[in-house]
Symmetry: C2
Subunit: 326 residues, 2 copies
Amino acid sequence: MVTLSNRCTRSLNLRHPIVSAPMAFAGGGALAAAVSRAGGLGLIGGGYGDPAWIEEQFAAAGNARIGIGFITWSLRKSPSLLADALKHRPAAVMLSFGDPRPFAGEIRSAGAKLICQCQNMEHVEDALDVEADVVIAQGAEAGGHGALRGTLSFVPEAANFLARHAPDTLLLAAGGIADGRGLAAALMLGADGVLVGTRLWAAQEALVKERHHQAIVETNGDGTLRTRVADIARQIPWPRGFTARIRRNAFTDRWHGREEQLEQNLAVEGPRYRQAFAEGDPDNTGVWFGEAAGLIEAIEPAALIVERMAAEAAQQLARHGGAALA
Amino acid sequence: MVTLSNRCTRSLNLRHPIVSAPMAFAGGGALAAAVSRAGGLGLIGGGYGDPAWIEEQFAAAGNARIGIGFITWSLRKSPSLLADALKHRPAAVMLSFGDPRPFAGEIRSAGAKLICQCQNMEHVEDALDVEADVVIAQGAEAGGHGALRGTLSFVPEAANFLARHAPDTLLLAAGGIADGRGLAAALMLGADGVLVGTRLWAAQEALVKERHHQAIVETNGDGTLRTRVADIARQIPWPRGFTARIRRNAFTDRWHGREEQLEQNLAVEGPRYRQAFAEGDPDNTGVWFGEAAGLIEAIEPAALIVERMAAEAAQQLARHGGAALA
């Protein structure tokens, strides 16, 4: 039998070394629960601080063993969200995009695994400072927020750093991973597992409008870009250095490279963006997926996605490993 | 015995599925010959059209079985370079950054393998139109010129496309690959082999000044950026859409984001750039390497780099393949 059992599955008590990205708005309790029940670890997307929404998502997850992820700079504005989430006894809490120091102790004290997502080597050092249980090296291919390192070179560099300074810390790869080939590649690069966003955004359980789901099926991997325009239109004050990868569409064609003009037109463009998003318009708002769009041909149940990814990765490893031994 | 023998090594008559990037200025005949003699395929960097330099590099390669690569849009300005190169009976000719159609027939008629490097899916379609023998999917991690797709998602998407439309065409991965882990990952993603630039730029045989070599050893993978400023300073008219990944240094800190001002100061800044480059100054000129810098700790002979990469990849595949089969 092919299997991907490793120190990641043992430490996090999983069948597959696959964690779902805590995608704001899209990553609700149903998706997290489906990923966990399929043998991965599902994370609710803590988003920008709506406590009622988070409670609903924990309820939607039922008794599944899940975790939650927060946008660290945003959590600093509403730190009570963390205490509220910890009451649900999440298996893990992920912090990304900001200094993890203010929250690490509270997470650890609650008995949750501390996962720190990193976009560059400086972030990896921050994660080791707070003794993260899991470090994620997220490459620029990823959908939604991220930065500029590419997954393929960032992961082995992070692996080298962990091997020297914190050999017991787990490493996950994120950014561009949508199938068993990506998972197998991540393991080759020195990761212990993967964080999957875009491929699970395209799961039936994701909280994504139907026309946005249709758009990812129709878009190839060239059809996204990293930009600030969605955050400007939404008036969400992301720190410089982070951009969002979204679908290239009429909205981005109009405003990317014209950020100052967009700022000047927010009275009109802000409501227009939000209305188009609420309506599931794929052309006039941010459509939040990454380069892995080119590997996605159908909207499928999360369990199928997770189980196929693990099985394909194990087969790919066994086939090539066998050939290398021949 | 572990081995990476596959259809790439058989088709190109190699021991290892490793091709050296034809790096302008840095990739001369000595480097190409060393890579080929170690079992890979070395490519001279055809650069921007200096016929005497190219002749010198073919001479420096001696009787090694090598190839050459051209910057396609630049070759259109000096098409006789191709005929001159083909007189040396190169094993392969690589075209990158432009329409391959004007040159494909001449290359094939000369009996050389046609390699087309691609930066997005549209380029892959162009490569199949000219029936390329080898397609390279180059990700944004790469040093020097490239575009925006990340290697990790671009390679499997290109592999899917080739499987459907040209299953006999070989696929190489490029961008961020500097060791056996990267090679093993590329094979997992569906590539038949890899193109290696930055790691071989840091080879003893590369035509690189000592202080530039020292800079790559000291720089981690966060220390590069994609920018137009080197091409502006050198007054080389690269088509829009392509940028160069170079070391982040005083030169890029000063001008990146201030491209118009640099254009206005070319009378001073152009000669300053070129003089600093000629002197091997690591701070005031373009220093041409990619994100794989974070994986490079020493300047070593090319043969050692190629042989270690192949051996490590085979070991990595065998170990993980064996674990998956356990």
